[in-house]
């Protein structure tokens, strides 16, 4: 053995600790003296370490892959692709829906020899595999690239799906080393790209490259540390110099993973929290759904107010229309806005009446009725032509004259188009119709863009825009990437969607026909749901209005009876007083008067006139009087003495009623509460019984006292009672059954009042609840706009169209001349018809018919002022045309 080798052997055994102590000491001694030996040993030690290090490299690399894969695998959505070298075809796998791990050597071969010209010389190991194109295949490469191959993705030249096994080659250069080693550039033209990795795919059958069906693209997910929204997918093109130039960048999309749509939250932000705060069960989705849905009625009512349609449903626009509108504002529109501001805005608004009427729909209203251009240019001149509609308008708007405008027909067109568009745009901002949300939030939309967490996030933002058209945009374009629609939303003026647009969210694949079908589902069901909500609420309001009307009638009836009864009692008392005074003065008692004539007793002697007047005054004011007759010198007196009545715990009772029963009169009178005590003056001529009734917790309470005397105070304590008991209390030999019945009737009325108060309370509570939710459901309505707060005009049930229909069906006048009138009609707070204005001019038959028809109108939705129904006068048009 050569000397060098011997030394190496010695150094080796020294380093491996194989020497015995003696040898070791000798070797160390030798090392001290020989620098050469020291160096040898050092070198050897380094080489030992080197061997070890080399062996560790694969372990470190393997850990790197685990780290990288583990980082994005759980999310799956976080992958960002990168750069394609050439897309010809695809890669490997076995059959079926499984994950082939190419790190296991038996699943993939490593081919050194590549036949493809544009990959030669890359030095990258190619992964080659034969797959069955008739099955879905998913591949996972050692570097963590995931390739999804849908079945039937590969097609031949004729575009037919390939059934023979396909040989797929995949090259990947995910990190810098691979890229440099493969000599791949990261240049796009003259720009240096920051690369996230590159991959190459090829698929062949019998040595011929096959194509990919564009409708079934392969999906490649490239692992990435973070999703950089600026990452794009470039197509690699081999240049003449043999360098790859990267061209045709396309944004990368984040994959959307559909979930069960019913598990998502499409409510307006804060809705559930508010429901819970108001003490309702926010966890019961069936309840919260139907509650939310019911607000569609408010939406319809609010958005359709003032317009002719009973149900405002914003036009559904196609994607192209959105882009056209959003990108290129119509110059006519801008000009129209300017002309409107300079010429019209002093007296008009698009959607609101001012000095003049709201201009929205003006052109439509004039259709077939006259020349709107001539009217706008010079209204006074046009009035003189006798056009009925112009004259009707003139009268309706307080005969205020519209100043002449120097405008061309084209300019007038621009203005009218602007006002119509402005109103539809502002209608868009009125919030999201809950019916629309109801229409999409169900299984029909499972497996679409809407059934994703990504859309859920957007839904929150959509609620904040209050623009129903944004929701339409997303729902009507289910076959587009969310990011495209985000950009459109930004262009529609909703900047908040910019952060979504940057994320490059993709879509859930959906065939075009399915998207089209769902578009129709959306439109149709939104309308159905809105209609249903509106009808339900209208029915509810109608029922309430009818109940109100009945209640009103009942109250009025009761009051009329009370007035009549009290009048009769008064006449009886007056007659009794009069008789007593006559007797005291020694005059013959006049014959009993028929009650109504009591105030018109024929007087033959002037003396009596004074007497009667005095008795009348005393009876009316219930005060004592003393009268001395001039002729006889006799004095007559009437005595009224005050008595006060107290009821124990009276504050516990609702609507306490105290009645005095003057037995001689077989009548009763109500004692009013003044300053907290029931006081009345008793007529000394009569014996009085006393009865008190009230209600507490749905039970009648009563107390009575016989033959009371002034001045009291008389204290009554109420006891639970019923009608029978009440009858026994008031029944005495002196009073008739009909009087008893009258008092029982009063007790029944008290019971009804109690129920009515409960009904009103329930309604107020409901209104309060809905109004509290309104701000959350329609975040843009704000103070003073929300229907519960807003001032609202009265509305014919079903809207103006329904009104016209009603007239058409019921108006029976048939005259020779056309007549147009505006009739002022008071719509009472309960929705019934109050005063109808008098018409001068039209023939009497016409006027009578107008009155008859207007009287017969169904119950209106009354005006709301400061949240409460109020009486309001509306001017109703009656247009009778003779053709």
């Amino acid at each position: 053995m050569r000397n060098e080798l011997t030394l190496i052997e010695l150094a080796d055994s020294y380093l491996r600790g194989e020497m015995n102590a003696t040898d070791r000491a000798a070797f160390e001694e030798r090392m001290r003296s020989s620098e050469e030996l020291r160096e040898l040993v050092d070198d050897q030690r380094a080489l030992h370490a080197g061997i070890e290090r080399l062996a560790l490299r694969p372990a470190v690399d393997k850990a790197y892959r685990s780290y990288k894969f583990g980082k994005w695998a759980p999310g799956m959505g976080g992958a960002v692709v990168v750069a394609i070298l050439a897309v010809g075809g695809w890669m490997l796998a076995k059959e079926g829906n499984f994950l082939a791990d190419l790190t296991s050597s038996d699943a993939a071969h490593t081919e050194q020899q590549l036949t493809l010209s544009d990959t030669s010389g890359t030095g990258l190991p190619a992964l080659v595999m034969t797959i069955d194109p008739k099955a879905d295949t998913t591949l996972l490469t050692p570097n963590g690239l995931v390739v999804d191959i849908p079945k039937g993705a590969f097609i031949d030249e004729a575009g037919k799906a390939i059934t023979k096994p396909v040989r797929v080659t995949l090259l990947e250069a995910i990190d810098g080393v691979d890229i440099m080693k493969a000599g791949l550039s990261t240049m796009s033209g003259d720009t240096l790209l920051e690369t996230g990795g590159m991959f190459y795919l090829d698929a062949q059958v019998d040595g011929k490259r096959v194509g990919i069906d564009p409708s079934k693209p392969l999906t490649v997910m490239v692992p990435a540390d973070k999703a950089d929204p600026r990452m794009m997918l470039y197509e690699g093109v081999m240049t003449a110099e043999g360098i790859v130039d990267w061209r045709n960048p396309q944004p990368l999309t984040r994959t959307l993973v559909p979930v069960d749509i019913t598990t998502l939250d499409f409510y307006p932000p804060g809705y559930l929290a508010k429901v819970a705060e108001l003490g309702k069960d926010a966890t019961d989705k069936r309840y919260t759904d139907s509650l939310y849905w019911s607000f569609s009625a408010e939406y319809s009512r609010y958005t359709s107010f003032g317009s002719d349609s009973t149900l405002a449903f914003p036009d559904t626009l196609s994607y192209d229309e959105y882009s056209r509108r959003a990108i290129r504002p119509d110059p006519d529109h801008i000009n129209g806005a300017f002309l409107f501001a300079t010429n019209c805005s002093a007296c008009h608004r698009p959607e609101r009446n001012l000095t003049g009427p709201a201009l929205t729909g003006a052109r439509q209203r004039w259709e077939g009725r006259g020349d709107i251009y001539a009217w706008i240019k010079n209204s006074s001149a046009y009035l003189k032509t006798g056009n009925p509609y112009a004259n009707e308008l003139f009268r309706k708007w307080n005969k205020s004259v519209m100043t002449p405008h120097d405008l061309s027909d084209a300019e007038i067109d621009q203005i009218l188009r602007y006002v119509d568009m402005a109103s539809s745009a502002s209608r868009g901002q009125m919030g999201i119709d809950p019916a629309k949300v109801q229409a999409i939030w169900n299984e029909r939309f499972n497996g679409t863009n809407l059934a994703t967490r990504e859309f859920e996030e957007r839904m929150r933002e959509i609620h904040r825009t209050c623009d129903g058209q944004v929701l339409d945009l997303y729902v009507n374009n289910l076959d587009r990437n969310l990011s495209q629609l985000d950009s459109m939303a930004v262009r529609m003026g909703h900047g908040a969607f910019a952060s979504f647009a940057l994320r490059n969210d993709g879509r859930v694949e959906l065939p075009a026909y399915a998207a089209e079908r769902l578009r129709r589902v959306y439109t149709e069901w939104s309308q159905r749901y809105a209609e249903a909500a509106r009808k339900t609420q209208e029915a509810f309001h109608r029922k309430e209005a009818e109940a109100d009307q009945q209640a009103h009638k009942r109250q009025v009836d009761r009051q009329m009876k009370d007035i009549q009864q009290d009048g009769e009692r008064f006449v009886k008392e007056f007659s009794a007083n009069l008789r007593s005074v006559y007797e005291q003065l020694g005059y013959p008692v006049p014959p009993p008067n028929p009650p109504r004539a009591a105030f018109a007793v024929p007087v033959t002697n002037p003396g009596w006139w004074n007497v009667d007047k005095a008795v009348l005054a005393a009876t009316t004011s219930r005060t004592s009087m003393s009268y001395t007759d001039d002729q006889s010198g006799k004095t007559a007196t009437l005595t009224y003495s005050p008595v006060s009545i107290d009821v124990a715990d009276k504050e516990l009772f609702s609507d306490l009623r105290v009645y005095l029963i003057p037995k001689e009169l077989n009548s009763y009178q109500r004692v009013l509460e003044v300053n907290g005590t029931f006081t009345e003056n008793l007529n000394a001529l009569f014996q009085y019984d006393l009865v008190c009734m009230g209600r507490k917790d749905g039970v009648l309470y009563a107390a009575s006292r016989q033959d009371i005397t002034a001045p009291g105070p008389i204290t009554l304590s109420m006891e639970p009672s019923d009608e029978e008991r009440l009858r026994r209390m008031v029944r005495t030999p002196e009073v008739t059954t009909s009087l008893v019945n009258d008092l029982v009737e009063q007790a029944r009325h008290l019971q009804w009042l109690e129920l009515e108060a409960k009904r009103q309370q329930a309604r107020a509570k409901r209104e309060e609840f809905r109004s509290a939710l309104m701000g959350v459901v329609f975040p843009c309505w704000g103070e003073g706009i929300s229907p519960s707060e807003a001032d609202r005009a009265p509305r014919f049930p079903g809207g103006d169209q329904a009104y016209e229909q009603y007239l058409g069906q019921n108006f029976r006048y048939r005259g020779e001349n056309s007549i147009s009138v505006m009739v002022p009609v008071t719509i009472l707070r309960d929705g019934t018809i109050g005063e109808i204005g008098v018409l001068f001019g039209p023939p009497e038959e016409f006027t009578n018919e107008v009155n008859r028809v207007l009287r017969g109108m169904p119950i209106w939705e009354p005006a709301i002022r400061k949240g409460k129904p109020t009486d309001e006068i509306v001017e109703l048009p009656i247009n009778y045309y003779v053709r």
């Binding site: 070198d43 080197g50 061997i51 070890e52 290090r53 850990a63 780290y67």
Partner: protein, 188 residues
């Protein structure tokens, strides 16, 4: 896993989990490298070298950390990258250091340069020599077994072949040292 647990796993194996966890410190290194003219791949290489160094150190029973593992790895990478920049003549400023970096990295890294060179030398010839050396030194297989499996006559032949391989490796190592090249180690 605490730093101490990581070290003990690196020492006694299996160390895969510990290594995966250590990659959590890679992004910080990437940031540093990319802020100073390097690529993500450069950073990965540096970091893997640092892991190798740490693995080597962990084998030493006397090795104790004077700072967190993250800082330790970062400091190694920073030193190496600074050196690389200097070598390329692109060095302009000291790279940012962390507060608790150990101060004694200099000597260790000087030795580390030599070990890297040795690794490179061994890698460059590969083949049967490398297999023989790895089986003998790492797997501690008997020379006779090794001889049989790589087709050598017997124990003696294997022994001679081993020393010849070491000699050759040393020769290449020496020549690399002479070139003074500390270029990035390319991986297989």
């Amino acid at each position: 896993m605490s730093d101490q647990e990581i070290i003990s796993q690196l020492r006694s194996g299996p160390h895969h989990k510990a290594l995966v966890q250590l990659y959590a410190h890679l992004p910080k290194v990437e940031r540093m490298v990319r802020n100073h003219g390097g690529t993500r791949a450069d950073a990965k290489d540096l970091f893997q070298d640092a892991l190798i160094i740490l693995l080597g150190k962990a084998k030493d029973e006397t090795f104790t950390l004077t700072c967190s593992i993250g800082t330790y790895l970062y400091a190694i990478c920073r030193n190496k990258w600074q050196e690389e920049l200097r070598r390329q003549g692109r060095f302009t400023q000291e790279l940012e250091t962390l507060a608790d970096e150990p101060g004694d990295l200099g000597a260790m890294l000087a030795e580390e340069g030599r070990l890297a060179m040795a690794e490179l030398a061994l890698r460059s010839f590969g083949g049967k020599c490398l297999e023989l050396l790895q089986r003998f030194y790492l797997l501690k297989e008997p020379l006779l077994t090794i001889a049989k499996s790589i087709g050598l006559a017997g124990e003696g032949a294997a022994k001679t072949r081993k020393y010849k391989c070491l000699e050759e490796a040393r020769k290449r190592y020496r020549s690399l040292l002479a070139q003074g090249s500390v270029a990035n180690i390319q991986q297989p």
